[in-house]
């Protein structure tokens, strides 16, 4: 196992200032401002097509911003400088790499020394339960395994900022619960700042410290609801159900 020093990510502070994103004439993100604190677990919910993916793509500078700025730890966000991992909404494992090499991918890009990289890969293989499949290739894996590869790859670099775009949307309930718990464990262990996008309100209430509700397009932040229920959370507990219903109402009434 690794020393405490190495396993602890710094946790990035994110400032979004007057973020505006247009595609041609289509205004998607409309002058959005908010902060995410170091080590915060923020869930983001919003209607289909409101621009959640667009927001993460803007945050990582895959898209150019139309206006506004995004700062990480006080400076303009730059994936070359800041330690970011992004789990995309679609499958993104590299078909030419084995499970093991896929998980190592980010570490290779960042030039992490071999020994340390291997330790991280081993740790992640164990966490997502893919040790037996380390030599397999993506086309031999089920949908849930592919998703776990992406998750392991994202975590292996010990990111300061972890972005997850409906990562569990395609999974069956049982596996979703398992991976939600794994995510919480990893987050508690690493101290990473997490932005977690989901359609699933129960999932948001189960995971987040804060739940950000977005409006329809042109998209603004409707509200941010704190979720102070202590972990481990019980989805059947009255306070959980109450908060879930509250968030549902906030989403329903525009």
């Amino acid at each position: 196992m690794m020393g405490e020093q190495k396993t602890k990510a710094a946790g990035a502070r994110v400032e979004v200032r007057n973020l505006t994103k247009k595609f041609g004439d289509l205004l998607v993100l409309d002058d959005i401002s908010f902060n995410v604190e170091k080590g915060e677990f923020l869930c983001i919910v919003g209607p289909t097509g409101c621009g959640k993916t667009t927001f993460l793509n803007s945050l990582t500078r895959l898209y150019d911003l139309t206006a506004g700025e995004i700062l990480v730890n006080g400076e303009a966000v730059d994936p070359k400088k800041h330690n970011i991992s992004y789990i995309f909404q679609e499958y993104s494992a590299m078909p030419w790499l084995s499970v093991e090499d896929n998980i190592r991918f980010g570490l290779d890009i960042k030039g992490v020394p071999k020994q340390e990289a291997q330790e991280n890969v081993e740790e992640m293989l164990e966490i997502v339960g893919l040790e037996k499949f380390r030599k397999q290739y993506p086309h031999q894996l089920s949908a849930s395994m592919l998703q776990r590869v992406s998750i392991a790859r994202a975590f292996a670099t010990k990111p300061d900022l972890l972005l997850m775009d409906e990562p569990y949307g395609q999974l069956d309930i049982e596996l979703r619960f398992k991976l939600e718990d794994e995510l919480i464990k990893l987050w508690e262990k690493l101290g990473t700042t997490v932005l977690f996008i989901t359609h699933n309100i129960e999932e948001a209430v189960y995971l987040g410290q804060n739940i950000m509700v977005l409006t329809n397009k042109p998209t603004k932040v409707k509200t941010v609801i704190p979720d102070e229920i202590p972990h481990p959370r019980d989805v059947t507990a009255p306070e959980f159900v109450k908060l879930r219903n509250y968030v549902t109402d906030m989403i329903k009434w525009w």
């Binding site: 793509n57 895959l62 980010g106 890009i109 290739y137 086309h139 031999q140």
Partner: protein, 260 residues
């Protein structure tokens, strides 16, 4: 169960081969429907093959000398085409400026099929090695550029994005993502252009040559020696598939993960 089944399936193919050979023998030596001046029997073909290994008649060179001559031209033109074509396709796909610069010339060249270059090359360089090697080279460059280019262009955006969000440099995006993505297409180009090169050399030798398998066939046609023609055809087929072997091995080795 699965293993057992596939283990004996080759018998089916063997039966077909034996059957075809038998029919062939039957209509020639067996029943004498065809004389050996039109369709020689399989036995006569084997005899002609063995004879041609050492006998330079009637076309001035042994089978081995013809084959070597063809192979030299094909491999020089092909390998040069590969070594230049693949990097060129990659560079054109990755750097837009290179694309803009090279494309006009490339588009002009690629619309002319390989064999159509033969007459002009013969005028320039005669009927020897050089003219045919250049023709083969042009064909190989075109196929390898096109395939490497499309391979790189077909890289999935999300894969490039994974690299970009991990902070990959442009060079890392190319070498760690776009190139492996393009690999199946590059292999495809290697195969297509090798098949093309082999076809082109035979055709070119039929048209203008004084040596080579195509030349041997052409000479045999002139003096009505179908046995030598058929020997030549078999050699073309067998050598053609042997040439593919290293590429298939490379493909198997790198594409352990199945196709993508």
């Amino acid at each position: 169960m699965q293993k057992k089944k596939s283990k004996y399936l080759w018998i089916l193919s063997a039966v077909t081969v034996v059957f075809v050979l038998f029919i062939w023998w039957l209509v020639t030596d067996g029943l004498g429907i065809f004389t050996s001046n039109t369709l020689p029997s399989p036995i006569k073909i084997v005899q002609a093959f063995i004879k041609k290994l050492t006998d330079p008649n009637p076309d001035g060179a042994t089978l081995g000398a013809h084959l070597l001559s063809s192979l030299k031209i094909v491999l020089s033109g092909y390998l040069l085409g590969v070594v230049i074509g693949i990097p060129m396709g990659i560079v054109m796909a990755w750097y837009e400026k290179a694309d803009l610069m090279i494309r006009p010339v490339f588009d002009m060249i690629r619309t002319v099929p390989g064999i159509a270059w033969v007459p002009v090359m013969v005028v320039f360089c005669g009927i020897g090695f050089t003219s045919k090697a250049i023709v083969i080279f042009i064909g190989a460059v075109v196929a390898n550029v096109i395939n490497a280019y499309s391979g790189i262009k077909q890289t999935k955006q999300v894969h490039l994005w994974v690299g970009a969000t991990f902070g990959a440099s442009n060079w890392q995006l190319l070498t760690k993502i776009a190139l492996p993505s393009a690999f199946p297409m590059i292999i495809n180009g290697l195969k297509l252009s090798l098949g093309g090169a082999w076809t082109t050399i035979v055709a070119a030798e039929l048209l203008a040559s004084n040596r080579g398998i195509g030349y041997m066939i052409q000479q045999a046609r002139g003096i009505l020696r179908p046995d030598i023609i058929i020997v030549g055809m078999f050699v073309i087929g067998i050598v053609g598939s042997l040439l593919m072997l290293p590429i298939s091995l490379l493909e198997k080795k790198v594409m352990k993960g199945g196709k993508w």
